[in-house]
Chain length 398, copies 2
Amino acid sequence: MRAYIILVGTELLSGMMIDTNSIYIAEELNKIGITIIGKSVVSDDIDEIIDLLKYVYNKSDIVIFSGGLGPTIDDVTRDAISKFLNIKNEIDGFHYDKMIEKFKLRNIKIFEKNKKEVMVPTGSEVFYNEPGIAPGFYINKIAAFPGVPIELKNLFPKFLSFLKEKYSLNKEVYIKDILFWGIAESILENEILDIIKNYENEIIFEFLVKDYGIIFRMQTEKHKIDLVNEIKNKIDNKLSGYIIGEDNERIETNVINKLIKQNKRISLGESCTGGLIASKLVSVSGASKVFTEGIVVYSNEAKHERLNVKKETIKKYGAVSKETVYEMLKGLKTEIGIAVSGIAGPNGGTKEKPVGTVYIGIKKDDIYNIKKHHFNGNREKIRERASLTALFELLKLL
Amino acid sequence: MRAYIILVGTELLSGMMIDTNSIYIAEELNKIGITIIGKSVVSDDIDEIIDLLKYVYNKSDIVIFSGGLGPTIDDVTRDAISKFLNIKNEIDGFHYDKMIEKFKLRNIKIFEKNKKEVMVPTGSEVFYNEPGIAPGFYINKIAAFPGVPIELKNLFPKFLSFLKEKYSLNKEVYIKDILFWGIAESILENEILDIIKNYENEIIFEFLVKDYGIIFRMQTEKHKIDLVNEIKNKIDNKLSGYIIGEDNERIETNVINKLIKQNKRISLGESCTGGLIASKLVSVSGASKVFTEGIVVYSNEAKHERLNVKKETIKKYGAVSKETVYEMLKGLKTEIGIAVSGIAGPNGGTKEKPVGTVYIGIKKDDIYNIKKHHFNGNREKIRERASLTALFELLKLL
């Protein structure tokens, strides 16, 4: 089944409001195997809504509205729907009685315009809005719900039960995400396309580029879970060196969990990343079991005083150098250590060491591994990439 | 001018991703007086995109795309646009050269399909994508940008300058943002509503709740700048204690600038915030002038060894206590110091010190100021709020 989501509200267009309703609706529909083919935000304008309905109605098995069911003149969703379907509105007796009850409890007078709120297109299937006034309704492939999140979330499960029964839906969707780092998107895709080419009728595949890595997503019905595992094994065999997590895991979750398992403590010496790596590790609940300290040695003075980096080393090779990073690593006291020094920009670059040059060092017991990297992007991106790459270099050694 | 925003990406429809791009785009367009008449999310399907373009093209003065410009088979935005406009694509020479440069630096091979990324509809106005590969482009009322937020944000300002010149926009729009912290939204609103009630026909007012504070925005025509300043002065008089920045400033910009002006160095001792404060300070270019070091003393051992917190103090009062934070502050070597220790959760809370309890200490020369705070939210939110509050407490003393 194919669904289209329409959010009604001029306030959603000004860019000031993050829409969480459509995410909720999409997630719930996905779970019962309904595909979202599109979603739109439209202003409180009856002609615009009807226009949009004309555009989406035939390409969808169901159109779901959120917003515009209140009592004010701005609330035109139900009128747009009934006009589009050429049906008159009627008062829903049950909700009308409930409204009288609720207003009485709150000691509020009912105005004529409040009656509008309990109207629905004649013949609608009606869903009870416990926390609010306006009912949800469904008629001729179109469903409408209030935009107030608490009311939507009260109504939507009732609508889902109705849908499941009406269309005998009982597909259970299975999603598997694999998270990659350290490999270019185009190369990753080539490698994976090779593996999945025989499964394309069975499973939906997607690549999502995130700040924290590239996600390869497989989506299918629950009974095809074996196929997903088969692909996952092939990917593991071919690309395990670039896999940094599964599903909701991030690289830092994985690093912390491995350290806990191996009972090894970690500490950090950060310069240009300036606490970002520490912050990522601390974001994992339970990090305190293995993370002892992170030193942001932003000044040369601090590098010397906190990590015993020799003044001559910095003078001779510079703060951004293999030699300095080596001594930073040596200054760390735990079995596992990460040290980073680089030029995040926008200033400070030279011809030999342009902005984006970052030395990343990993210490594991007595093994020291220091590499020179180059990252693109602005200050923020260079720091983010350096942090993730440092964790990635460590993960490879764990 | 009327703009329509189109986000391309099947992943945006599955409900797993919160779209922040369209919010950014809408805000930026609003600032130069462009109205958003609608926004839609469409899957990576060339026919669907063309279909949507047919629906929105005539009702809009400009259509803005985000997403679908990468190198993979899923990336069909540029092809949809050129097919809709009946124009061929061509390689943009500048971006092609830049791609070769960037791939060389990262030691990655260029595949045939990577060329796709640097193609644009022939005759497009092209905008340079510094942190990424695919250029932004504009042709015949249609503009397209990558969906990666950092790339969009690098490109969009360039496009706005182009738009402003092309359509002589922004001759008149003036926006003043004032950023607040440490005051509840409802209280802030009450205080400000009182001030602005006589200006409501002249100026558009808005409150925007962000992670980094509450923005009060005034938008008007440029010749009414005196009115804006008048209100700003009234707000300064009444609420200066809660103002942490103006326009694009963040609290960390403000802190670093004040420290530079006062020629005072800062260092940090962070426990539960785990490098977040350091990371914020380092995000300000030029921070190295005043930021010497940040110590993430996550373990008690590190608190003792790095900052000379006495073992007995931790034993007697706990790591999350006024006494420990006082000794952490004392262990910092610069004129200005921040020390933070708290319980970010989800575990580790007790009846006396529930999750969210955070001690924040500020040292300024010989003055020590330590307060107990309680923050709501999950681990991430508690750490974020504690970091901002620490900077806020410092700012008040500078």
